[in-house]
Amino acid sequence: DVKVTQSSRYLVKRTGEKVFLECVQDMDHENMFWYRQDPGLGLRLIYFSYDVKMKEKGDIPEGYSVSREKKERFSLILESASTNQTSMYLCASTSGVVGTDTQYFGPGTRLTVL
């Protein structure tokens, strides 16, 4: 069974804290993605990576950074968490340059920043 796992289902942090969200996939996929999902705004792409140590900004990268040291792991970092980063965060992976295959999603991390 294909699998994308995320380190936490629920997370509560305080304003100004550094937050790490981890995502691991076991499908040997080249491409990995971080989205955030907010009511009325749908899913928006934060960052993606198409290879180890490679990253590209998505539509809303401000306030976030990412790390991809190993092919199977893609981390999202909130350098200094703010209340407007309270959201559902979804990780996904797929293969190939054109990416015509199915994209597999993790279960999501619901982050609350107080």
Binding site: V4, E30, N31, F33, Y35, G40, L41, G42, L43, R44, L45, F48, Y50, E56, G58, D59, M88, L90, A92, T94, S95, G96, V97, V98, G99, T100, D101, T102, Q103, Y104, F105, G106, P107, G108, R110
Partner: protein, 112 residues
């Protein structure tokens, strides 16, 4: 930026009825995918239709694609209470490493 619109935003039907959801997009695409999300969970892939295809079936799901109108529809036949979920269309265009652009989704409620 969001690729397009989904219509309706919410749909409420009785078990056994058919449910139709529509999706429009703005730019040329390689393929269009439909995903389902149960409340508070991750997304599950339902079906993928390529830009050179017009219709695709998978079990009780039927997807159509009209590239001239930049639109797609998802039909769920003989709906069940377990189909209650949010449904999203997402597009891939160009050499994008599989980067998806999502619509805002349709919330489907199927009453037993």
């Amino acid at each position: 930026s969001q690729q397009g619109e989904e219509d309706p935003q919410a749909l409420s039907i009785q078990e056994g009825e058919n449910a139709t959801m529509n999706c429009s997009y703005k730019t040329s695409i390689n393929n269009l995918q439909w995903y389902r999300q149960n409340s508070g969970r991750g997304l599950v892939h339902l079906i993928l239709i390529r830009s050179n295809e017009r219709e695709k079936h998978s079990g009780r799901l039927r997807v159509t694609l009209d590239t001239s109108k930049k639109s797609s529809s998802l039909l769920i036949t003989a709906s069940r209470a377990a189909d209650t979920a949010s449904y999203f269309c997402a597009t891939i265009g160009g050499t994008s490493y599989g980067k998806l652009t999502f619509g805002q989704g349709t919330i489907l409620t199927v009453h037993p």
